[in-house]
């Protein structure tokens, strides 16, 4: 399956899940600041990985991978699915 690409600033401003609408400051793969350092490798890896960190608050999410998809839950910002 194709992974959902990392959340863009645009998507975060109009999120489908609940929670405050802010620009995501964090890389959802490595959990580091999205605007600091190079996350090209993270983006490439995300093709074959679900997100691990909430892009909005940097919390580690509870991630369940199943054969045909995944879900990732942040206690504060709700669920993402792919």
């Amino acid at each position: 399956m194709t992974a959902e690409p990392p959340m863009t600033a645009e998507q975060a401003v109009t999120p489908t899940n609940t929670g405050p609408t802010v620009t995501p400051p964090w890389c959802d793969r490595c959990g580091e600041a999205a605007d600091a350092g190079d996350h090209a490798a993270c983006w490439a890896a995300r093709e074959l990985e679900p997100p691990r960190f909430c892009a909005r608050c940097r919390r580690r999410m509870k991630v369940q991978v199943v054969p045909a998809g995944w879900s990732a839950v942040c206690v504060e910002h709700g669920e993402r699915r792919g």
């Binding site: 399956m1 074959l48 990985e49 691990r52 991630v63 199943v66 995944w70």
Partner: protein, 331 residues
């Protein structure tokens, strides 16, 4: 043609007797220009001793993360700074995952838990989960729950689990470099009990953990001695935060050499492409492997990472005229 391939043509293809450790090492160290011939021979061996069918399996993690063991490749160990958090799958979602797997035509559904061995809670979840799947889904259930006691082996048989996966992961001589919280021999003991119980033994490992090519040959020989029904072959996908997080991935040609060599060591086993094929070999690798000795695939996602789409794999099987093994053929 390399001498070892001539020998394998007679011994393995002709007589169905696998290569020994020295023979496997000779295949693993063949020059690049001999690789197509090795893959071709491994394919012929698979077709002769296993047939054209491909066994398709889906896997799911019933309990993810928080494992007390320290397998250095594993993102689910609770001992490393891995971002994988502990999570349990509920039974309705487990049944749904089995349905998704069956919908691809798969005959095998393997339930996996990140544990040293099962506790009472996990065994209860298994009992309920397996019963719920059997009531609703036409698929065979396998399990991978770590090291077992004899009572747990008997319980799994009683639940109707038909195959048990427990990987030796790597050869005996290298194992202490990869795992320090339990031994290779402890794993072997679980495999022995599984074998004696009548469940099918599924045992493989991961290549690219830093083992030498000699140790890869040692591993193939040790697996051949165990003679498992199925051997899942993984290639390390280095996981952030684990001790092997910076390990280089296995080079594509070395991965294909290993596939051919493992097939030539075990002419009759189900040799399954498991995790890491997408990273090591890219999209083309799946085809090369299926034409080089592999006769089983995991479709869809893995336990904590994602795989190629099941549709792509099934299309490829159709194109290669390799029928998906039917449930009736496995019963």
């Amino acid at each position: 043609m390399a001498e070892i391939l001539d020998q394998a043509r007679t011994q393995v293809l002709g007589n169905g007797v696998g290569l020994d450790e020295a023979g496997v090492l000779a295949v693993l160290t063949l020059p690049d220009e001999q690789l197509p011939a090795a893959l071709q021979l491994a394919h012929e061996v698979r077709m002769r001793w296993c047939g054209p069918e491909v066994e398709v399996e889906g896997i799911v993690s019933l309990k993810t993360g928080g494992c007390p063991e320290d397998c250095h490749f594993c993102s689910q160990s609770g001992l490393f700074a891995s971002p994988v958090r502990s999570v349990w799958l509920d039974i309705p979602s487990l049944v749904e995952a089995a349905k998704q797997t069956a919908a691809t035509g798969a005959t095998e559904f393997c339930i996996v838990a990140a544990v040293r061995g099962p506790d009472a809670r996990l065994m209860k979840q298994m009992r309920e989960g397996v019963a719920a799947i059997k009531a609703e889904v036409d698929i065979q259930v396998a399990a991978s729950l770590g090291m077992l006691t004899q009572e747990q082996v008997d319980e799994l048989v009683d639940m109707g689990v038909h195959r048990y996966n427990h990987n030796l992961e790597t050869c005996r001589s290298y194992f202490p470099n990869v795992v320090t919280t339990h031994s290779w021999e402890e794993r072997w003991e679980t495999l022995r009990m599984v074998r004696e119980s009548g469940m099918e033994v599924c045992c493989g490992g991961i290549l690219g953990l830093g083992e030498t090519v000699e140790q890869r040959a040692e591993f193939a020989a040790q697996l051949a001695e165990l003679d498992p029904h199925e051997v899942p072959l993984n290639f390390l996908n280095p996981r952030p935060g684990t001790p092997l997080g910076d390990q280089p991935v296995v080079e594509g040609r070395d991965a294909l050499r290993a596939i051919a060599a493992f097939r030539l060591a075990m002419p009759r086993t189900i040799l399954r492409y498991a995790g890491g094929r997408e990273i090591t070999l890219g999209d083309l690798g799946t085809r090369d492997g299926l034409l080089g000795g592999v006769n089983a695939v995991i479709v869809g996602n893995y336990l904590t990472t994602l795989g190629r789409s099941a549709t792509d794999d099934l299309k490829l099987l159709e194109e290669l005229k390799m029928p998906v093994k039917a449930l009736s053929a496995t019963l």
